[in-house]
């Protein structure tokens, strides 16, 4: 009667492993339940809409909402700053000039021509 389910829940075999979302789902639900139970054992001192829920900035007043939000450009700033040498090279590549786009195309074609035809 439930034969149609069989192909749906069949395990996907890869070259050296397998993947079954059903198994993953069961493990995920069990883990979630465990976390939920552990969380339930915690202290129940939290009071909604009191000073507990206010933003605390070492006693300083909270800024305007717009100033509190970290803009996208600042996210991963350290990463991009540390790899500035690499990003500078990438930026030089991306000139936005369509002539350069064609130049890259010609370069790759030439390179392939040398490797595939001449060598």
């Amino acid at each position: 009667m439930l034969e149609w389910i069989e192909p749906l829940i069949k395990t996907l075999t890869t070259d050296s492993g397998f993947w079954n979302p059903l198994v993953w789902g069961i493990v995920f639900i069990i883990s979630y339940l465990v976390i939920y139970i552990v969380r339930g054992m915690g202290k129940k001192e939290y009071k909604k809409d009191t000073g507990q829920t206010q933003v605390f900035l070492s006693g300083n007043p909270e800024y305007d909402k717009e100033k509190m939000h970290v803009p996208g450009a600042n996210v991963y700033w350290g990463f991009t700053e540390a790899l500035k040498w690499l990003y500078n090279k990438f930026d030089k590549m991306h000139t936005g000039n369509v002539s350069d786009y064609i130049l890259w195309f010609v370069l790759i074609m030439g390179l392939f021509l040398v490797i595939m035809v001449v060598i």
Binding site: P21, W24, A73, T80
Partner: protein, 528 residues
């Protein structure tokens, strides 16, 4: 009833092109009656086309290769060349056609609300149908010159749609770059077609594949075709048009552009595995297959790395997704390159190793997943722009409170494109990683690290756009209209479905496509 269905199946290859093509020109006339009727007409045309695609795909997966000869009768083979124009559909183009069936229909539903405020929508829908017809032609045709013609139709319609926001200078610039790149690519493709025609008196892919002798001119044609189609597919360092085009086109158009990019990638695979397959994978040429495989791997790794690194530093929502899309194309390319590099000659036949075959399967599977995942993310970016009139990650923030459904769709897209379980992207990337590890563990390490960086990219977007305090300037932002939610919901549902039941998809759709890719003889046998 069965007679009608049989007739539809029989003529579906022609109807799949003819219906959107005729629909495109009728749209202008229907548009005169009223926008609502025009919208219904366009969706009906696309629904019929998609239905026919599904009929054809089902027929191909059930009964094998389909050849449709235009002008009636069978193909005349005289002096080893085919006279008639024909469409030839095997597991591979059937697979890609499914993508082409889904993306335009979603884009049209999305456009109802997304483009409502704009003028010139008769032309907009006409161009969408024209672009779809071109894309489907590229996928279904068995004729190289036909491929060039459909590529041109797609490119011209795409360029016009990229420039749809006429009031924005960047859109016009992006469209100009796109048309220049497309024209150059198409010209070189035509040059390769001429080289084939000069040598073999044929334009039919199967006939050329059967006669190919890998002369000096054939090698030049391979290089030219490879470079032209790789550029159209967005392979680094020929990718630079892609962030411009994807980033500046309306989000609904970007979704179809993904389909056209994948159609070019399909063309590239067809050239390598089918047209050159018979010779490239023969005893004399396994070294050539290895060289080509290694070159593809190098380009793929560069594509993934540069795509991800450039995405990480972008501060424009759509441009960021565009670079992530480039990285995703790298994954497919990597899998194909790895498979090529494992070609060996055993017991009189050229075979791909088991790991190579699995990598190929993962790569093909990832084509489908990429179209859906990146497509969904672009629709979300469009929804954010529609609601907040902003795409800069520096200015957006806190939108999860106002746009709950869009946020959920973004999270689904984020998980899928970053390869997080249980989404579809995880299943295909897992296949690629595991098979690649058998071929070269270093490639797997690079691929996994870049996938983690891809997750970081979209976590940045999630934080910048949806999280953070509620910004006063966006207090009036509301959830997008239902048609846009439905469009995003359709793609998200397919993503989740494939993610939860990957095996059914791999067994029934991906495996036939992979087998077709490896079997050039069957493709040739479909005509000769």
């Amino acid at each position: 009833m069965n007679g009608v269905v049989d007739w539809l199946i029989l003529h579906s290859p022609a109807l799949i092109i003819a219906i959107p093509l005729l629909g495109a020109f009728l749209t202008i006339l229907i548009g005169k009656i009223g926008p609502r009727i025009r919208n219904v007409f366009v969706i009906i045309i696309m629904a019929i086309t998609s239905f026919l695609i599904l009929l054809l795909v089902n027929d191909v997966f059930t009964n094998g290769i389909r050849t449709y000869v235009f002008g009636g009768g069978s193909t005349s083979i005289e002096s080893s060349y085919a006279i008639r124009i024909l469409f030839e559909i095997d597991g591979l183009n059937a697979f890609i056609a499914i993508i082409a069936a889904i993306l335009p229909i979603v884009a049209i539903i999305y456009s109802w609300a997304f483009m409502k405020e704009h003028t010139g929508l008769d032309k907009y829908y006409t161009l969408i149908l024209l672009m779809t017809a071109g894309m489907l032609g590229m996928i279904l045709t068995g004729d190289l010159f036909n491929f060039f013609v459909f590529l041109e139709i797609t490119s011209i319609a795409s360029a016009a749609l990229i420039a749809f926001y006429l009031d924005k200078q960047n859109s016009i610039q992006a469209a100009f770059k796109y048309i220049v790149i497309s024209a150059i690519g198409a010209l070189f493709l035509l040059f390769a077609v001429a080289l084939f025609y000069g040598q073999y008196n044929a334009l039919n892919m199967a006939v050329i594949a059967n006669n190919i002798s890998f002369t000096f001119i054939d090698k030049i044609a391979l290089v030219v075709l490879f470079a032209a189609l790789a550029m159209k597919a967005g392979i680094v360092p020929m990718h630079m048009w892609l962030p411009d085009a994807y980033g500046r086109a309306p989000a609904s158009i970007t979704v179809i552009l993904i389909g056209t990019t994948l159609a070019s990638l399909y063309g590239l695979f067809r050239v390598i595995f089918t047209i050159y397959g018979k010779y490239l994978f023969s005893f004399d040429s396994t070294q050539m297959a290895l060289t080509l495989g290694v070159l593809i791997i190098i380009l793929a790794v560069v594509t993934i790395v540069i795509g991800v690194f450039m995405a990480l530093k972008q501060n424009d929502f759509k441009r960021m997704i565009a670079f992530a899309a480039i990285a995703e194309i790298g994954y497919m390319f990597l899998a194909v390159g790895a498979a090529l590099s494992t070609y060996t000659f055993e017991r009189g036949a050229a075979i791909i190793s088991a790991s190579g075959q699995m990598a190929l399967k993962g790569g093909i599977f990832h084509i489908f997943n990429d179209a859906l995942d990146v497509g969904l993310l672009f629709l979300v970016a469009g929804a954010v722009y529609y609601a907040a009139k902003e795409t800069s990650l520096n200015k957006l923030g806190g939108l999860a409170r106002n746009m709950k459904y869009t946020t959920v769709f973004f999270l689904i897209g984020l998980a899928a494109v970053s390869g997080l379980p249980p989404m579809n992207g995880f299943a295909s990337k897992l296949i690629i990683y595991q098979s690649m590890f058998q071929i070269n563990p270093l490639l797997t390490i690079v691929a996994i690290l870049c996938s983690i960086l891809l997750l970081a990219v979209f976590v940045k977007v999630f934080y910048s756009v949806f999280l953070g305090p509620k910004l006063p300037k966006f207090s009036g932002v509301k959830e997008v209209p239902k048609s846009m939610l439905i469009a995003m919901g359709i793609i998200a549902s397919i993503i989740v479905f494939i993610g939860l039941f990957p095996n059914i998809f791999v067994e029934n759709i991906v495996t036939p496509a992979t087998n077709a890719l490896q079997n050039a003889t069957s493709y040739i046998g479909g005509v000769l």
